[in-house]
Point group: C2
């Protein structure tokens, strides 16, 4: 089929590469940077470039920041042909699903999506064929999405290397993602900002490196994502800060038993998660 | 030379394995578990077992939890022969260095130590020849440690695969380790304890996995370490919670510029650290 990708950054570029390497679909792409479009063309990753190539797409992937994705859909809603599917890749789903509502012409199927994959680098140069290997592709289809369209989307993502397709609601997505991804970026960033961080050569532990890995983030994208999910994110932050206060209290009180039992609880949850991931 | 190791768990066992694989030293070991001693003997990692083997050691490594290490040194202080070196491996240094003061006979050199390596598994079965490869070995020698003894210790650790030896004071060690290692374990454990953690199959992100990796910890050891470093640890926790509160405030106020600038600061620090580690 004909696949069109809007935005050839880390996510869109990785889709282009995975499609080129693993499927026989015809792919076209659009990027705000003409240079990126040209390089994707030169590399043989896309067969055509520019907005006009989207008119004939059977499947359109929108891999832009949330605000830009909403704008792109609004401006181009009438380009998408009847029978085609449009999937956005935004990391927040309530906002974008709401923005998409009622935009498209008859016969166009919109599905919210979010590939659970990333890197602490962004842009086309950071994109990789293998980015999605084994990852989960989240989809938030509403009741208007027919089973045939959903099946077509699912098969498309599985063929690219995704380990599975997870169906959920925009609301549930946003609640969970606040915890599994967004807050991890905030904690990483906050952790790196303790003043002592700049001066400890020879003391670096693996735990610190892991803890701060995603502090190397794109602040423009994450600011958008955080503010569009502020309710769930602050809720999770409040719980975490309460947990940390519980630790602090036990440490300050030299409460060995209380501290040990709280650490045990954390270990047991982590072991449960490791077990259930197998 | 003759090396004796007290405690054949993750750290002591890894020392035994690295010594056996990479040096020609004669090694003996003691463990509270006779079964572990026998298995280390059977595997050819140690040439002798039991406390009486420590009398002839030129170098004694004490790889026990802090309280047990202090007790071991107190009970066995008079075993160590003149001219020999004793190094403990405890993750807190003020406590153990203080406990060691004045214990040993004339001519015995004590040096506080802390190998910056670990795994989220413990015990002899988790020990590995390569555990210390490229890691930093921290030593906290006081003014009584002669340069010849320090040089002998340094050469010993480098021969095992350590990437470098870092000299510091017990106080500075404890302050930095509260941040680079101890607090990371608390945050990991606290993060895993948000109620939503138990129910998000299909949403697991790499950032979450990294964030909670060390939640799988040995709560007995870490409780000891945390309580022996309570002052510095609570200080670091207070700063982190303040950082998180700063994020929360900006998110709740939908302050895009303030949020972006705070995320930028975290990114820049992380990039600086990545650059300086090269």
């Amino acid at each position: 089929m004909n696949v069109a990708i809007a935005g050839l950054g880390l996510i869109g570029g990785s889709f282009a590469k995975a499609i080129a390497a693993r499927t026989r679909h015809r792919v076209t792409g659009y990027d705000i940077s003409a240079d990126v479009e040209r390089r994707a063309l030169d590399a043989g990753l896309i067969d055509g470039a520019g907005l006009n190539t989207f008119d004939g797409a059977d499947l359109t992937l929108i891999a832009l920041y949330p605000g830009a994705a909403a704008e792109f859909m609004r401006v181009n809603a009438r380009r998408f042909k009847p029978g085609s599917i449009v999937v956005d890749m935004c990391g927040v789903k309530r906002y974008i699903v709401k923005a998409a509502r009622g935009l498209f012409g008859e016969g166009v199927t919109y599905i919210g999506g979010h590939p659970m994959a990333g890197r602490e680098y962004s842009g086309f140069d950071a994109s990789r064929t293998e980015l999605f290997d084994g990852a989960s592709m989240i989809l938030t289809p509403d009741e208007t999405v027919g089973p045939d369209k959903l099946e077509r989307a699912r098969n498309f993502f599985l063929a690219l290397g995704f380990g599975g397709v997870t169906l959920t609601t925009p609301d549930r997505h946003d609640e969970i993602i606040a915890f599994t991804s967004q807050m991890a970026h905030i904690v990483s960033s906050g952790y790196a900002q303790n003043p002592i961080a700049r001066n400890f050569s020879g003391f670096s532990a693996g735990s610190f490196a892991d803890m701060t890995r995603v502090a190397k983030l794109d602040e423009n994208m994450w600011t958008e994502l955080f503010l569009l999910n502020a309710d769930y994110l602050t809720e999770q932050l409040d719980i975490l800060v309460e947990n940390l206060a519980g630790f602090r209290e036990r440490i300050a009180a030299r409460d060995a038993e209380g501290l040990k039992s709280m650490l045990r609880r954390g270990r047991e949850i982590k072991e449960y998660l490791m077990e259930s991931e197998k």
